[in-house]
Each structure stands twice: as C-alpha cells, then as structure tokens.
C-alpha cells in the first residue's frame, strides 16, 4: 500500500514538472550526467548489444523475420489499450484483429498474415497517449541501458507495465484467459525486441556515429523527432518557416 502511494506521489510530481516545462522539449534535465550515461551506454552497446546484433544478423532471414514478427505481435497488446485511450477506435480494431490473426493463423505471431490482409499495426505506448492528451515531454535525459527518454516517456514506460496485458501476466504473474508467464518471459521478449531493433539499425547507427560531430545531440534530436512524429501520427518533418526564410 505504501509502495502504491509512493508511485502515485512520484508520478504526480513528475507530471507537474513535465507540465511546467511546457513545450521546451530540447531542454535537458541534467546534461552532464546524461552525457556520462550516454558514454556508458555506448560502451555497453560496443561490448554486448552490437555483437549480439551482428550474430543475430547472421541468422537465416526467416528466423529474423519470425522473431521480429513475434516481438511486434506481443507489442500489439500494449498498442490496443493505448489506441482505445486515444479514442482511435478504428486503429484499435485493426490492431486487435491483427493480433488475433497473427496469433492464430500466424502461429503465435511468428508469421504476419495480417499485414498481407492490409491490417495496420503501429506501435503505441502510454508516453504517446500522454502526448496525445497534451502532456508535454518535459526535459530530456538518458537512462542506463534503456537510452534516451523524457520525463513524460519515463512515466509512460512505467505505466506501460500496468496497461500492457503481457506485462500483467508475466511481470505480475497474473492469469489472464488461462494464460500466465513469468518475468523471465517479459525480459526475454524485451531483450529480443532490443536486439532486433539494433540489428535492423546496424547501418543507420554505424553511419550516424561515423558522420556525427556530436553523436549525443544527434541521437537526442532523432529521439525527440521520432516521438513527436509518433504522437501526432504524421509522417513528415515540417519546418517550413525557417526554410522559407532562406528562399532566394
């Protein structure tokens, strides 16, 4: 009970801090610390994540595609309630249908027949839902291992474990429709998702590192642009006013 109270208190404080910071998404919480954590994460990536991703990329294509489909299908369980919370009924329906079809015809989600039927399955989380409700990102910082985030997205990440049915049956070991699991299942899927993401972005991240004069700032910009795009559900980066100033 005391734990629950503390969570509510911390969340309220963080939300208030987040709102006070308005739209200043580029604002840093504690840049020096974040740069230190970023350095540590780069070391972790070099020693653990990248080598695993290199090995993963050597797997046969069907294995990689199957793993990607499986983790994405599990992610749909978090997407559906977030679509509902955002009032996106059509997308919630499409994601639910996608999960049902892929989990059955697609054999536990290793196949993706839903995509061939034209069913969209975009990933949504609580951070995006909060953003859709107008909660500003708050300041930016970097978490060990987990990487770039903002105050809103950290709260969202924590709340994800309450909204996500998969976390409910694994992390909290609750039974849902006669299905249950353990925290090992949860962390295994999260680990596989990270390796799959790292492997997919091998060229992108290597190229970014080679061509950046400040990789920390480049990743921060990419993270914030990506989150803004996911919240608005648009697919283009518009910055017309400043470009128009430069019209000759």
């Amino acid at each position: 009970m005391r734990f629950k109270k503390s969570i509510v208190l911390i969340t309220t404080c963080l939300l208030m801090l987040s709102s006070n910071l308005s739209a200043e998404t580029e604002k840093e919480c504690f840049e020096k610390v974040s740069r230190g954590v970023f350095k540590f994460n780069k070391g972790f990536d070099k020693a653990v994540l990248r080598p695993l991703a290199v090995l993963y990329n050597k797997l046969p294509e069907p294995v990689k595609t199957g793993t990607g489909n499986f983790t994405s299908n599990v992610g749909t369980l978090l997407t559906v309630p977030n679509h509902i919370l955002q009032g996106q009924w059509k997308l919630a329906g499409e994601s639910s249908a996608s999960f049902f079809i892929n989990s059955t015809i697609g054999i536990l989600g290793f196949g993706n027949p839903a995509a061939k039927m034209g069913l969209k399955n975009q990933q949504e989380d609580v951070g995006q839902t909060l953003g859709a409700y107008g909660v500003s990102a708050g300041c930016y910082f970097v978490l060990p291992i987990l990487g770039p985030t903002t105050i809103r997205d950290t709260i969202g990440m924590f709340a994800d474990t309450f909204v996500d049915p998969f976390a409910h049956i694994t992390l909290r070991e609750k039974e849902l429709l006669s299905v249950s699991g353990s925290d090992i299942d949860y962390y295994s899927v999260k680990g596989a998702t990270s390796i799959n993401f790292r492997a997919d972005n091998m060229t992108n991240l290597d190229s970014l590192e080679k061509n950046s004069i400040d990789m920390y700032a480049a990743l921060k910009s990419l993270y914030l642009q990506n989150r803004a795009q996911k919240i608005s559900n648009t697919f283009s980066s518009e910055d017309s006013d400043e470009w128009n100033e430069l019209n000759k």
Partner: protein
C-alpha cells in the same frame, strides 16, 4: 595499355559527369535519376575511390542547395555573425557536408531504391517520397526528399527525411548543441568541423 585504360576511364567519367548536369526538372524524375546515378557511381568497380568521390561531390554541388542547408543548419546563430565569419563557415560547411554525404551514400549504396510519388507542398517546394527495398543488407526505409523548386527548371535538394526524421534538423540540433555547450563560441564549431574534415 594502362594509359589507354586511363583515357577510357577519364572519358567515361567526363561523359557521366556531363549527364549529372542534366537531370530531369520534374522533381520525381529528378530524384530518381540523381540517386540511381549516385548509386551506380559508388558501386562501379572500374572507377577509383578518388574519382568516385569527385563525381559524388560534383553531383552534390550541382543538385543540393548546400548554401541554404548550411544556413539552416546554423540556425539563428547565423544572424549574429559578421560576413567574414559567415564566409569561413560556408567553406567549412561545404567540406563537412560533402565528406559526410559521400560517407553516408557509401553506407547505403548496396540497397535498392524506388521513387514512389511526389507531392507539391507549395510553389517553392515539393516532397518526393521514396523507399529502399527490404533486403539482406537492411530493412525497408522510407525516405522523403525536400526539393526546392523556386526555379522549376533547376530543382535542388534541401533535406532528406528518413522515416520521418529530418537529417537537416538533426544536423542543426547537433550544431546548436555544440554552440550552447560552449557559450555560443563559433570557433569551437569550426574546430569540430575541421577535425571531422581532417579525419
């Protein structure tokens, strides 16, 4: 024999360079021709690395609005600089951009590329939508091109938007971060750019 090969390579390069000056003025066709030309150049095993770089630089300088991109990247900081400093920045940025572009293109040259559609956003710019095809060397990536069309006969690329993420904006925020961390001292940015160019 070696001399003959050199002459042939020189002629090929000269002819293909002329081709690069005359891309289609329709934004969609322009991007298609330009990217395929750049990829063909980088994957051509009969051209030396130096000549490849030269050709990519020629293509870029003719078809990218490097000056506007440089100013955009510098953000509001450009408004507080004198003419001489801006000139120095312009020269350094061009070198930085060309080196970074060549390196990035090399990283992606093994991927197949498709231009999908174009949408005219205003009189001065069009967004061209394209993608790289999913293969063993990488997943499908959506790439949008911001093409400046104030002169309809000579379109110019201003930005690449990869999966919704603007490379120009990323670069701009990188430069801003360096300036912010160093009391807006432009010389620190110049040093960083010089180090990048030298490496």
């Amino acid at each position: 024999m070696k001399r003959l090969i050199n002459i042939l390579v020189f002629l090929t390069l000269t002819l293909t360079s002329f081709n690069s000056f005359s891309y289609n003025s329709d934004p969609k066709a322009f991007i298609n021709e330009l990217v395929n030309d750049a990829i063909a150049t980088l994957s051509n095993k009969n051209i030396s690395k130096i000549d490849k770089n030269k050709k990519i630089k020629t293509i870029a300088l003719k078809n990218v609005d490097v000056e506007a991109l440089g100013q955009y990247t510098l953000g509001n900081a450009r408004k507080n600089l004198d003419q001489a400093t801006l000139e120095k920045y312009k020269i350094l940025f061009e070198k930085y951009f060309l080196k970074s572009l060549t390196s990035r293109l090399k990283d992606y040259s093994s991927q197949k590329f498709e231009v999908l559609s174009a949408e005219q956003k205003s009189e001065t710019y069009t967004i061209v939508n394209s993608k790289t095809v999913k293969s063993s060397s990488g997943p499908e990536i959506k790439i949008d091109w911001r093409v400046y069309t104030k002169d309809p006969t000579k379109p110019l690329i201003r930005d690449l938007i990869v999966e919704g993420l603007s490379l120009a904006k990323t670069q701009k925020e990188e430069f801003a971060s360096i300036l912010n961390s160093n009391n807006n001292d432009i010389n620190v940015l110049f040093t960083k750019l010089e180090e990048f160019i030298k490496d």
